[in-house]
Symmetry: C2
Subunit: 395 residues, 2 copies
């Protein structure tokens, strides 16, 4: 399962210190290889495949060889049977296009077993194309008025209930002080609870509860939808008064997330959901490291929080993988804001002590089903969950 | 490597015969499990996770239990240690939204190791949301004037050359009769060869060559770009006279492909490129079968041809996997047109005999580097490759 000592390695520290100041951008790949010579051959293959994608005859002894083609910057042994290769690319090859940046980092190479994209580093100059998260951790804390410690989040479910029902649930959760209340990721625009009706019912409910409590609960509307309709729903959610939006880049691609995040007339935090992204991260020797996928890419696209499946629930990530995702949400990236890691997927209060140990104070704990079913009284459940979270934090 | 006997199984035939006529849509998953009881538990977990995603208390004894939640339609032993589960879902849960359909088929379950999406079946009623390929195999044959047999395609490369250079290469290939000439997938809008300049140079060159030869070579412009810019480039390519466009759904998501394909004012065939899709298909026990990913999903989105990495080149797909991709491009899907499989990735004339055996007459053989470097005379290379293809077909 998706874990190895890369992030503790000297190599990673070197990256952090040196490569960031290069004028080129770099990708670090974990390569399965029996010896150095094989690893070098594979690394050279990546450098060619990712850029010129053709036989030597077409570029050797031209200027393309010196500037366009990827360059092996470093190649070091990792664990037995694997090496880390750092390959650098020219910013000119991708300019400001995020799809081309992702393509250059891993496009065709993603089709090769035994090669895993571990991380990337951009020179500061490239970040002018990536303004990054508008809110990040601090911005979300300000919006929901919680200065420190883990933040509780819950979810409206199940699919099949009416907009009115979701509104009632949202009301009770907000009355109990739930800081963040999000739609289940399967709530789109079904006739059971059409998008606008659902968002309006939940916004009104949360506003009413906030007026009673003096609190600042936020409703996060799932806006994942087909292509441009996603942007429309996000703007509609904003107009209707939602406190944030959720989207699934596994279904939508990442560049449309950047488009929304960068829009001057959009002013809500963006929560990313991991649905459909499993294959990208599940294999230990191919795909993308969760550090890079949920941490680095989410921030590059300008999301403010990345939901992922935590250890201890229904999904397979280990504690170590989850720690690395957190690292990815805050590692230095051209001055971009840190974003919130949002562990989820079968969370419950019994996990809180361990979650506090692993995630520390800067995380959003997403508890859906367990919180909703603790008793019939949702508002009381919120109080109970706050109590348990306080116990875990102050133990 | 991504291969198993599912597609030869009785179960698959049953699917083809029976489930298509159901009013619900179905997904077939391969589940790693030691025995029937474990497989059943996992299948039930999928049915719940993909729909209501919550504990039983929130839906049991409500109408949601009968209509919204996924239903296990069949569960059969596959090879030792694995089972096939067919789970059906209500069309109301996704309505016309392609992202929600994909989410329902595999959203959160994609995050579980040991579960692979093998195929899906929609009732005919759902296809009203999916007009499918505008051209398909027959339409592409008509556009390039080739009535039968494998069609040759080549690629403009490498990144770093100028628009003028690409135009010259396109001219020589078209003069040699190359039916389909596409951009490398790394050609976006770099200053080396800006999008409009490149498309214009290549369109003009191919038109000039066609005027000389009386042929109908088509230039296929890579239009992959960030979010909505993709749609703009595709329309620009059409205005400038391109013969088709290429796009990478691994980067863009599939729903924007459907949006373009369904647009009443867009009239070019769409070629999909597999870059960044590797992790979706590479693992044998998780992710998505290549049959489903490159075959079924491509057609559902309305693409006319699906490029994939063939056996025999630089990538790992076996002959069997490649055969199944072809099956996916033509299996019955609500009357949607068959699309062209486009094997690629290190193809060369020495592979043609085997490729003809495996792919038969209805395929596009994409040969990039090998054709460009056979000799310095590209037009002569085309003649040589036609000769070799004819030999392979008529052997």
């Amino acid at each position: 399962m998706a874990s190895n000592p890369f992030f503790e390695s000297e190599l990673f520290n070197e990256l952090n210190d040196a490569l960031r100041h290069s004028s080129r951008f770099t990708a670090t790949y974990r390569i399965a290889a029996d010896d150095y010579a094989e690893a070098k051959k594979i690394a050279r293959g990546i450098a060619v495949e990712q850029t010129v994608e053709c036989p030597d005859e077409l570029f050797v002894n031209t200027w393309i060889e010196d500037s366009v083609i990827g360059q092996i910057e470093d190649l070091k042994k990792a664990d037995p049977g694997s090496y880390y290769a750092i390959i650098s690319y020219s910013p000119d090859t991708v300019e400001g296009e995020m799809t081309e940046l992702m393509n250059m980092l891993f496009g065709n190479t993603s089709l090769q077993p035994g090669i895993r994209l571990m991380s990337f580093e951009l020179p500061d100059s490239m970040y002018r194309h990536y303004p990054g998260p508008k809110f990040g951790r601090q911005g979300i804390r300000e919006l929901c008025g919680i200065e420190k410690g883990p933040i509780l989040m819950s979810a409206l479910k199940p699919l099949g209930r009416s907009a009115k029902d979701f509104g009632e649930t949202a009301y009770k959760l907000a009355l109990g002080g739930c800081p963040l209340i999000k739609d289940d990721h399967s709530l789109f625009n079904q006739s059971y609870a059409p998008f606008k009706d659902r968002v309006k019912a939940c916004v009104d409910s949360v506003n009413n509860a906030n007026a009673k409590t003096g609190g600042r609960s936020l409703y996060i509307a799932n806006c994942t939808a087909d292509s441009m309709e996603f942007l429309e729903r996000a703007m509609t959610a904003q107009e209707l008064g939602a406190g944030g939006i959720m989207a699934a880049p596994g279904l939508l691609g990442l560049s449309i997330i950047r488009e929304l995040s960068s829009a001057p007339d959009f002013h809500l935090p963006i929560f990313l959901h991991p649905c459909f992204s499993g294959p990208l991260v599940l294999s230990a020797d191919s795909g993308i490291s969760p550090f890079c996928c949920y941490g680095q890419f989410s921030r590059l696209a300008g999301a403010d929080a990345a939901i992922f499946t935590s250890f201890g629930g229904r999904f397979p990530f280990t504690e170590e993988v989850c720690r690395k995702i957190c690292d990815g949400t805050e590692t230095e990236m051209g001055g971009l804001r840190s974003i919130f890691p949002v562990p989820s997927g079968g969370m419950k209060w019994q996990l809180f002590k361990k979650m506090v140990q692993v995630y520390g104070p800067d995380a959003i704990f997403l508890v859906g089903g367990a919180l909703l079913t603790e008793s019939d009284d949702l508002t009381a459940n919120m109080h109970f969950y706050f109590e348990k979270l306080n116990e875990a934090v102050n133990k």
